[in-house]
């Protein structure tokens, strides 16, 4: 199993996909961190907008910004799995390890482990931008207590999304379809369900609801507790992985 995991890392780091996604995630989080800090405390049409710098609510919102990169971690996992089918390397891969479930499990492990340093880097960018910018505006947030908890859960969420991506990739196999499907789900389906009163009750049980519960930012609808949300997200990751593994084992490789 260790051999297969190392083979997956070789696959990942011998093309440049990982670099693009990681840089994209860092830039995205840096941008959102700067925007959030820049508009902190501003008021819209006389109504209070974002809480001001120094407010604990602001600090926890600012440290949850990393979760915006979850979509890129999802894509990382999706590409990791679907490239095998797209470039037909599934054939030599499954010839090397005919027990296909081992290949999928190796991918899940490899991408979960790779996502950890990636997530730490994204968190570091987040903390750096917020600390420097908010510090310049008066109060740099402390890295303790609730702030630290928000950071930790955000990082964990990123890792789980990479695992979900591998599972989705094994389910759908078509790279473009899996990525487009993932984006549509995250940016269209979930927001719609979240905003319609009749269905918003179900939102807390969906992956996005789980993610929001983990990093509660004081503005969501009815959500689960942080740990329940985290468990829900892990559950979705394992479910996608399990279904993907079962299908990969049963389907013919053409």
């Amino acid at each position: 199993m260790i051999r297969l995991v190392r083979a997956e890392w070789t696959k990942l780091f011998t093309t440049r996909v990982w670099l693009g996604l990681l840089l994209g995630a860092c830039l995205m989080v840096a941008g959102f961190s700067a925007l959030l800090t820049g508009f902190a405390g501003s008021s819209q049409n006389g109504q209070p907008g974002l809480p001001p710098v120094g407010d604990p609510r602001f600090e926890q919102m600012a440290f949850a910004v990393s979760t915006n990169a979850s979509v890129l971690f999802l894509i990382l996992g999706i590409i990791g799995m679907t490239q095998e089918y797209r470039h037909r390397t599934a054939t030599p891969t499954f010839l090397t390890e005919p027990r296909r479930w081992r290949v999928v499990v190796a991918k899940l492990i490899a991408y979960a482990l790779v996502a950890i340093p990636f997530a730490l880097l994204v968190l570091a960018v987040n903390v750096l931008v917020v600390s420097v910018y908010a510090g310049a505006r008066g109060a740099a947030p402390s890295l303790s207590g609730d702030n630290l908890e928000v950071l930790a859960t955000s990082g964990l969420a990123l890792v789980i999304y990479a695992v979900i991506g591998v599972g989705i990739g094994a389910l759908l196999r078509n790279q473009v379809g899996a990525i487009v499907g993932g984006l549509v789900y995250l940016f269209v389906v979930e927001p719609v369900i979240r905003s319609i009163p009749a269905t918003s009750g179900a939102y807390k049980w969906m992956p996005g609801g789980g993610l929001e519960a983990m990093t509660a930012t004081f503005q969501g609808p009815d959500l689960l507790g942080a740990w329940e949300g985290g468990l829900l997200l892990v559950g979705y990751g394992l479910l996608a992985a399990l279904l993907g593994t079962l299908l990969a084992v049963r389907r013919d490789v053409v």
């Binding site: 297969l4 070789t10 696959k11 093309t15 470039h87 037909r88 390397t89 010839l95 005919p98 490789v253």
Partner: protein, 306 residues
Amino acid sequence: MRGLSKSFGQVRAVSDLSFTVEPGSVTGFLGPNGAGKTTTLRMVLGLMRPDAGTATFDGAPYTALAAPLRTVGAVLETAFHPARSGRNHLRVYCRAAGLPLSRADDVLVQVGLADAGSRRAGGYSLGMRQRLALATALLGDPAVLVLDEPANGLDPEGIQWLRGFLRHLAHDQGRTILVSSHLLSEVEQTVDRVVIVGAGRLVREGSMEQLRSGADGAGTVLVRTPEVTRFAELLRAQGVGVTTEDGTLTVAGSTPAEVGRRAFAAGIELHELRSHTSGLEEIYFQLTSGSEQFAAPSPVAQEAIR
């Protein structure tokens, strides 16, 4: 590897096909396009699930082999990530199979790609891709090689190289090779035994000698002579099938030696005497005719319809 036997039953593209590949020999797996060759090989290698039947290597199915890459090497298609270099492509499978990374460089040298190893595989020519696929199959130094249409897309020089390479792998290194092709002439000089399939069924199985012995006198011979009419009449009188066209004789069911002997005996001057189609090819066409999956009418027949 001592023996390799496989049998299938009632599969869509392949029905009830059974044959054995003898160890230490090169077996040609022949059949027209769509005869079920690739499907058969994919089932043998555990990539497709047969509806019935089993395929085993020395008694064990591929999926149960302890070290598949060290036991069986396979070239099924040229599959690689275009942005990854040839060497890194091979290293991935070294890692996965627990082989030393140096094997990647060894096999690159073996197939003559040593200089191109660090280039992106997406920039390889068709011939280089086939070589890279062959290199992947050789990584684990397996005793058995399964090659699906390895000559596809190769230029004449590449085919020449492949023939020599397969002979070297089989006869000098004693590997067992199963090589598929839709052209008999492509593998004619390389293989010891043939398994011919048509429409997913076994048509003929045997050694090249057996096939050849049945092929003697089945070919056609082309003759050019200034005395076309006289020679044609002479041959017809001797009961040999002849057609004439623009000063050329086409003699059916004979060999160049036979035709030359008859011409010499009659004192007829010959300007050209050559084999038009070998008996082997004739037999192959006869065996597989009508079994093409998507048989197209010949251009002549299409003209006639218009």
